[in-house]
């Protein structure tokens, strides 16, 4: 951390603390990559955390994915019917869900559920000196608490995103089946017809980035919680807000990148 002895600010108080925040976050990320490849690897704790992440968000992702699938299909049908193109519905939905909605919905739900709970958990460990207690027992808390959690979100969230896409497509199928009595096989064939390998790959890559972001932001905010119970709530809240903001930002950047790659 940067410490300043004098009252003098380089720019103004707010800009300085903003820059300091960026610098600290940068240090945090560097430290993560340094420690993630060094033993000891707390594999069991990573698996534990994966389980936690999955368990916390599975029900909500199932429900939301399903509803998004149904609603999106229902809302898209009239416009396509206007062009006499209702038979394109499955492939339109397929692209929309696999490329955009699945990863994004999953990331937003996980930012809310997982990001906040990591922020609150580490924040409360910080303010009640549990992190220091680990340090004085010669256990590296960065490794035990942060590396494991960030790895868990990075691994689990892409899987959840694929699952979410699948559930979404199933919801969509039910709606299409009710209206056009398309069979399940035919629906999935149609849905995946226009989806390329690059689409799936970039969708997974995107989810990996989202997962990494959510874990890292939660850990960063929790680990740097300031003293007191107030700090815990603040850490959890800021973790959600910042993670969601970054997820949207990354979504835009990755979509752009994927478009460029397609041209070459």
């Amino acid at each position: 951390m940067i410490s300043k002895k004098s009252h003098g600010f380089i720019f103004s108080k707010n800009i300085d603390s903003f820059l300091e925040g960026i610098y600290n976050a940068y240090q945090f990320i560097i430290r993560f990559f340094k420690e993630v490849f060094q033993p000891p690897f707390h594999i069991r704790e990573v698996i534990n955390q994966c389980y936690e992440v999955g368990l916390k968000s599975l029900a909500l992702i199932s429900l939301t994915g399903f509803i998004v699938g149904i609603v999106f299909t229902k809302q898209s049908r009239p416009s396509l019917e206007d062009f006499g193109a209702a038979s394109w519905l499955p492939s339109l939905i397929g692209i929309a869900i696999v490329k955009a909605l699945g990863p994004l919905v999953t990331a937003l739900i996980c930012a809310g559920k997982v990001g906040s709970s990591i922020g609150a958990e580490l924040g409360s460990m910080k303010v009640t000196e549990q992190i220091e207690a680990m340090e004085v027992s010669a256990i590296n808390p960065f490794k035990y608490l942060i590396v494991t959690r960030v790895m868990a979100t990075t691994i689990t969230i892409p899987i959840l995103a694929l699952y979410c896409s699948f559930v979404g497509l199933f919801g969509s199928f039910l709606n299409v089946h009710a209206a056009e009595s398309t069979s399940l096989i035919h629906f999935y064939q149609e849905a995946f017809k226009t989806i390329t390998f690059l689409d799936i790959f970039s969708s997974i890559a995107k989810s990996i980035v989202f997962g990494f972001t959510i874990g890292l932001v939660g850990c960063y905010k929790g680990f740097h919680a300031t003293k007191g119970t107030f700090g815990v709530g603040k850490a959890a809240n800021e973790a959600v807000v910042l993670a969601m903001f970054l997820v949207f930002l990354e979504e835009i950047i990755i979509v752009q990148l994927a478009n460029w790659i397609r041209f070459f």
């Binding site: 410490s3 300043k4 002895k5 009252h7 958990e121 409360s124 460990m125 009640t128 000196e129 549990q130 220091e132 207690a133 680990m134 340090e135 004085v136 027992s137 010669a138 256990i139 035990y144």
Partner: protein, 258 residues
């Protein structure tokens, strides 16, 4: 007057030696030239009002905070110059009992105690872990709480479990951060005798931070008064409290007013 409860094998080898220690946070100068010696087998109580930097002092001893200036030697190692790996090795010989106990609240009492053990010593059998945990729980008299969660314990029990967790690695030095704060007089007395038991059983030297003069008097050979970032006076309990210094007097009067 010598305190008879105390373990008597005082020799003159320093386990902690601090010279000219300075520490500030931004504009706030907390420690301003601390000199301090803890001999092997000795218990020293550090007294001082809230915010005087007592916790900061012992956190510097274990490298949780970095000193701005000064030489800090613990068990022959220079904490201010040591590598991260050596620091971890040194930490295994130091027990740190936190002001708020700092039990891991996602783990049971058993897991709290087993955690530092299994993380630091590889390939222990379940039997060895069990017996180490039982021994430490026995030392603090809370064997029956083995499978409880920290949230189910009272403040005094949490303090004891916190102490047990440090005992599991058989430390040579114990650092107690306000072991009796927030406890009733009876529980405080129990903690005081626990500190003495630990000293006898594990042969430790201790720094006991407190504002509780009864705790200081019963558990320590010496008292060190921290005022305005320095040790104003160090000596036996009676020597320190016959001082005419007003701040020391007010400290005494608050604790023992009739």
């Amino acid at each position: 007057m010598e305190n008879k409860n105390l373990h008597s094998t005082l020799d003159h080898e320093p386990v902690i030696l601090i010279k000219n220690l300075y520490k500030s946070f931004g504009e706030l100068d907390v420690l301003k030239g601390i000199d301090f010696t803890l001999l092997k087998g000795e218990n020293i109580a550090v007294l001082g009002k809230s915010g005087s930097g007592k916790s900061v002092l012992i956190k510097i001893l274990v490298g949780l905070l970095k000193a701005d200036q000064g030489e800090i030697t613990v068990l022959g190692k220079r904490v201010d110059q040591i590598s991260a790996k050596e620091l971890d090795e040194l930490r295994l010989h130091i027990g740190f009992s936190f002001q708020q106990s700092a039990l891991y609240d996602s783990m049971t009492v058993f897991q709290n105690l087993a955690f530092p053990l299994t993380m630091n010593i590889k390939n222990l059998s379940t039997k060895e872990i069990n017996s180490a945990v039982d021994e430490a729980l026995d030392a603090v008299g809370l064997k029956e709480k083995r499978d409880h969660m920290p949230s189910e314990l009272s403040g005094g029990q949490r303090k004891r479990i916190g102490i047990a967790r440090t005992l599991i690695l058989k430390p040579q030095i114990m650092l107690y951060d306000e072991p009796t704060s927030g406890l009733d007089p009876i529980t405080s007395a129990e903690i005081n005798s626990l500190i003495l038991d630990v000293q006898k059983k594990y042969n430790t030297s201790s720094v006991i931070i407190t504002h509780d003069l009864t705790c200081a008097k019963t558990t320590s050979n010496k008292i060190a008064m921290l005022l305005d970032g320095k040790f104003l006076q160090t000596g036996k309990f009676d020597e320190v409290f016959t001082s005419e210094e007003t701040q020391i007097k007010s400290f005494y009067n608050y604790n023992f007013i009739q």
